[in-house]
Homo-oligomer: 442 residues x 2
């Protein structure tokens, strides 16, 4: 315990690279995002859950894509357990539901807002943590759940002030893409390779894609046809082109139902059909989507889709599921860019001004009563003069100064000044102390 | 990616020992606690902040007590940094303020609700994480800040339904205790040893304490006098006993001011003066307090006090500070015991009943409009019969069933049934879609 006394002025200890502090100004931005996410999820009837930030590493190596496993923030704990700071939430959800899902009415509609972690080497400036809104419907195989999940993601963005002019949800359907590949004569054994090419198409370009498709046994004509279809064809074009193919038509009907439901839910203008959206992770089995800023300046804001085989991988009952994750970092960049981050200024409802230190007890009683009435209330701890107290009240962003002075108290009153308008009026002290008076009404 | 296909039914992956899952039922309890903590802090004008869950281990080894350092959940990360999952919040606060405090108006009133971690070996059943409400006033040396901080802790408990019959705040003052020790002729070099004895007095008993005090050079008569004073004497007794000792009287005046302020803030019946409260951690420099359940069945709910030397230890300006931490686990046990954890039942505002699948688009439009009006709204994804849909509505806890049926829609209306009373009434469909109608009013 001696280091308390022996130290004079040690050097600063710095926070770890890739982690953020949230001083009140930054926390207010985060809280606004969390509030919008929570309000959107709750308006759609989702219930909030959470899991531990630390999980057995097996939970991720068993099912996640290579990218996530390569960036695990993992270590061996003091009990010789190989553990990881959670890199995504869905495995924890699957683990919890593996124990609980039988007792729950279906569909299960759960959401969470966990902090997630990754460890990349030698990537300066990139964050190692972010908060991610996770929303899932489990136990419903119908396309209605897919539409509901994308709609809630868009509702969360809408509540933050974004519109269809700011963002675009690009939606695809993996079974539809598979059916199209089959219809084009591309054998099933080649599909995974083709998926990987399409996944990188936007970044790597058509020349690169043709080359890679050629390596997978798809010649120039076939590659052109495929790339043309997935880049340009809408559902109606595909219905026309593949009208004789039952598998394609069946899946197209589901896609049209999906798009129609999104239209009814108010998001027609936000959604584009786009077969180039694949999602790298292996576990998707149906619809997939990503939400981007319209200007395409930023990485994806959100990604999700249907993953009907995931729960059984961690030991649960096989249950169909659809969900998404939306991080706070790219979203924060877009909100900032669009001027949708309100300026933060400290604010309280009232500041108690005490002209006479002898009345301090009375002043504190007034503070306590106003607080119990739902107001945020400050007062000066030191015995400043009245002018100084009014300055402090103003600097703290108080809407009202509440003067508990000897003249007023002698009359059984207090004086309230509206700090915005300068209006002053008296309030009955007893009513204030009883909590039956409201600030801002004479 | 092959493990997606090869696996049939693997064994369950279990969560790590000492960690909790929060399914919606448990999360609702946690959220209620967080809401009370946040509401109390905000009513006192505190601003929320947060820091990273992972920090350099130096941040804790430099200032924390032995107990916390011995239980660190620490490891070496992939970049060879020695890091720890945060065991307490105050060091992160000090680190953040070391950079920011100069630019902030004083006093700084910040609160946080971090998840904290510890690693104890071979302690079955004990948690390795909990959430802790941290509230601090930094930059104010006066006793008013001490009173404010204890009052906000008690206000948080009050908002959760607890009263002075359930809990007791035991308050002491380290400088007062030191002044008393000096007045009793106990030399300063012995004070730390005496503090350690008093800290363990309640658990280890007076016999043990006498023996340990004897080892510190305090004979039986001196030990009896000391133990008698700290166990029984109130401020008035001490003022009488030490009326000739300026150092004791000066500190007693501050203690009386502290108690008087707590009385004015409405917490007289919650607070007891108790010199046996020491707080093991080394960094307290003034008042200290702990909050216990009255029955003393549980560990302390909350502990805090003044720590005027802490900030400079992590490289910041020397700033006086006072604060506390209150965990969610012991508090949860007390709330449970007192019957103050409300039963959780799922609830939504409305369930859309669709008698005719052809009207699904219209039904989804109604759902979207009601959601944007602030209601939580569900509907069936599958094409169930009406009776089945009403059952699902009831099971989901819906307050209203909203029937979008062909007859009603033909008349430009929808039917709303109050699921509690069975009352039914019609609403104008256009008003609903415009968001100008409110559920529950005809």
């Amino acid at each position: 315990l001696g280091y308390i006394r022996g130290v004079n002025k040690p050097e600063n200890i710095k926070r770890l690279p890739g982690f953020r502090d949230f001083a009140p100004q930054e926390l207010a931005v985060r809280a606004r995002t969390f509030d919008a996410w929570r309000a959107a999820a709750q308006s759609f009837g989702f219930q909030e859950y959470d899991g531990p930030p630390l999980e057995p590493v097996d939970l991720y190596t068993r099912k996640s894509g290579d990218e996530i496993v390569g960036q695990l923030y993992d270590f061996v704990d003091k009990g010789e357990r190989h553990v990881a700071l959670r890199p995504e939430m869905t495995p924890s959800l699957a683990r919890i539901l593996a124990q609980k899902s039988r007792a729950l009415p279906k569909p299960i509609r759960w959401f969470s807002m966990p902090q997630l972690f990754r460890y990349e080497r030698q990537q300066r400036g990139r964050l190692r943590e972010h908060f991610q809104w996770n929303v899932d419907i489990v136990g419903e195989a119908g396309i209605g759940a897919d539409a509901e999940v994308l709609a809630v993601a868009l509702e969360g963005l809408r509540l933050l002030g974004l519109t269809e002019r700011d963002v675009e949800a690009r939606v695809s359907d993996r079974p539809l893409l598979r059916a199209i590949l089959m219809a084009l004569g591309i054998p099933e054994a080649t599909h995974d390779a083709v998926f990987q090419v399409i996944d990188k198409l936007e970044r790597a370009g058509p020349e690169w894609a043709r080359e890679r498709l050629s390596g997978a046994g798809i010649g120039p004509a076939g590659a052109d046809e495929l790339l043309g279809l997935i880049s340009d064809a809408g559902p109606e074009d595909l219905a026309q082109r593949f009208r004789a193919n039952d598998a394609v038509i069946e899946r197209l009907d589901i896609t049209r139902d999906y798009l129609e439901r999104l239209r009814s839910l108010g998001f027609a203008a936000w959604v584009s059909f786009d077969l180039t959206i694949v999602r790298g992770l292996a576990y998707y089995t149906g619809t997939v989507f990503e939400i981007f800023d319209r200007a395409r300046d930023l990485r994806a804001l959100c990604g999700g889709g249907r993953y009907d085989r995931l729960l059984e991988l961690v030991g649960g009952d096989p249950l169909p599921a659809v969900g998404f994750g939306m991080g706070d970092v790219v979203l924060g960049e877009l909100l900032e860019e669009r001027g949708l981050v309100p300026e933060w200024t400290p604010a309280v409802d009232a500041f108690i001004v005490l002209p006479d230190a002898d009345l301090r007890s009375r002043g504190l009683e007034v503070a306590a009563a106003l607080r119990r009435g739902g107001n945020s209330v400050l007062y000066a701890f030191s015995e400043d003069g009245v002018r100084r107290q009014f300055k402090t009240a103003s600097a703290s962003g108080a809407r009202f100064a509440v003067v508990v002075g000897p003249d007023e108290v002698a009359r059984g009153q207090i004086l309230i000044r509206d700090m915005g308008t300068g209006d002053e009026y008296n309030h009955d002290l007893t009513n204030i102390l009883n909590g039956t008076a409201r600030l801002g009404s004479a």
